[in-house]
Symmetry: D5
Subunit: 96 residues, 10 copies
């Protein structure tokens, strides 16, 4: 199952910088683990913003829910989820 997930990160001005750096590193580690597993299929930065556009390929909606809510930076994110499906005109068999 394919989903577009848009994540905006908002950090309060007075949040502890060291703690946030640790969360950011943990987020990066978790992201790369999921990317290598083929679950977090794509990620792009939105120019000028602390935001990304991502494509997830998951076994179920519940799996996506658990992944997203378990992200280290989740408490700082505004998240928008959109269900996608394969486009019939695509010439690539594996366009995910």
């Amino acid at each position: 199952m394919l989903f577009k997930v848009e994540m905006d990160v908002n950090v309060p001005h007075d949040y502890d910088a060291d703690r946030f750096a640790q969360l950011k590193q943990a987020e990066k580690d978790r992201f790369q683990e999921l990317q290598r597993a083929g679950i977090w299929r794509h990620i792009w930065r939105v120019v000028g913003l602390y935001s990304n556009v991502s494509i997830f390929d998951v076994e179920s909606s519940s799996a996506l829910h658990d992944i997203l809510t378990g992200l280290p930076l989740y408490p700082f994110m505004d998240i928008k989820v959109t269900a996608l499906c394969r486009h019939p005109s695509s010439v690539h068999d594996d366009d995910r």
Copy 2:
């Protein structure tokens, strides 16, 4: 240069069905030409809507403008363009 482009297609109720079918076929042909050229990198359908989420990889903003405004279904589309860039955490060298 990477862009996310979101296209919503709106057809008036009284539009001629044959003419629209021809435009749709021309759109599909043009899409596949651009997909094979590596310009229209990704396309996904939005579930339940006559809409897609696409990723374009173009030489310049002007090139993208010419491609989009030249699409056969362009006069029926609402289009939203967002500039993207590579994400520094990505483990894939070629994640476009």
Copy 3:
């Protein structure tokens, strides 16, 4: 897979009444077929509007896309799709 689907029906003032009545009957037949199959799990009317709130239980996102875009009244609908999942606090094993 569970989805909430919200449908608003908008009919142009000058649309042929007989043709719309036929589409409405076809919509009802298709709805009941899907309801009996356990796919269109729930439907409620929104008070005062020509709108419904529905819950679908489908095998895949693509299946939902094909069902929705194939509805007889689809060309008159504004549709909003939201991916849902089971709530962990639910005491019902089969709350879909």
Copy 4:
């Protein structure tokens, strides 16, 4: 009387974690009590968000008001209430 209720939970970053865990447990207990009583008919999680979509079946609007404003997590919720009614096409006598 049927209502769709959509609840979004927002917790301040600096809120005491233990106190919130207690409120969450109290919320779960109250939810299950209302679910067993047939009042909180359905609940689904919205994928990726700390939100739910619920269907309530109550004796009166006032009863719903008292239930919602008495929820342990109510002070953290954004709530949207929509009045529903049975759909005439439904083949289920008891689709609530």
Copy 5:
């Protein structure tokens, strides 16, 4: 059961004036019938707009749905329904 109903009337420029006058008269007759029955409890005009704010007191949500969708001007209306209940501070026993 109490509901606030807000109705905005939009008439196309090219709609037949006589036919609209007939619908308006039928709307007025139906309104007064419902007002006398105590169902359409209050109605006010919104200054400068072809809109009203109304309070309905109905037996059920379904009853309100049938009343609203049966209004002669319903096809020209944008309608917004809000469920209300008695306010506990009110000194009037019968403030509906």
Copy 6:
């Protein structure tokens, strides 16, 4: 002069509970004083929200302004004011 006034009350999580209880009691006293005077003609709760829909009948716009900005809970309110007038179809001479 008739006005619809919609009031949403928002209390910060860390506001002193005793002080707020005092303000609430003062608000109730002031409301009942204005209700008995025939100025605060109607009040209804919006189901599920800390909000009300009210109808005021005042001598002037300035009088309404002074009443609203003088309410004990005014600093916590989002307020929306809409000018109303009598509806010509009403069968009640005194529908205010």
Copy 7:
């Protein structure tokens, strides 16, 4: 009683030009009549738009309603009405 009224005029592309010119002339005549009577106190154009910002000084809300809905161009207008009152800091006794 003072009101700010914002009017946006929208004319369909295919509307008869002569008929619209007549309505425009009638609108201007009616405007000047009301301006001379001190009712339509101020009018300004919004730069670049077919819109104005106006201040009305009327005896009652109903009077304003009748004036606005009776304007020759009213069927083409989107109208927004805001109740105003005198500002206590004003050094002008007659700032209306």
Copy 8:
């Protein structure tokens, strides 16, 4: 040059009351100075809100910018600026 300026004042709950009273007095003094100079041509209160609608008549856009950003309450204001011009139908030579 004429501008409509709409100002909404928002004061945090925990802001020091004495300091705000001083700023308010300074704001009033500055307003009256500008009103007497014919620059702050009009001001009206929006009924029920801590907001005003104002008309400025300034030599340049830069002059307006300096005036607004220099107001004592500016840090608490949401401001909306709209460029206006004289209306050709006006019978008053000096309607500013």
Copy 9:
């Protein structure tokens, strides 16, 4: 005086193509005349849309109003006007 003007062009599907081509040519001629006169200082296309972002340098708000409403494509445009002024940090004496 400097203004940012954003123009979106919307053409009905059934508009006569030849007539629109003539209007487009007239628009281009008028644009270049104003550009050479230093009034229409800058113009950029928005990628993927039939829209532009423009900077005007005019003698007065009224002059801008007359220029914009006199554009050949004005009846097809949605227009948004924002008053600008020189930025104090700019190192260019003539940044307009």
Copy 10:
């Protein structure tokens, strides 16, 4: 590559004034460095707001991302990025 960037600066009421003055000076220095390099092509103030409209001419989307997120005031900014391209009607060869 050309981009329109709109920046709104929001400073919390309780932010340290000296520290903000330092950030502002650093922002000005960085801006002038980029302006001299021909990257930050244009900047204008929005009248009445702590906002600017800017035009950037950069080598790549990534370059813009790094520039914007590295601005000293970036943590206080709401930023909106729009991809632009040269307008074909422009008579200036170098209108950037």
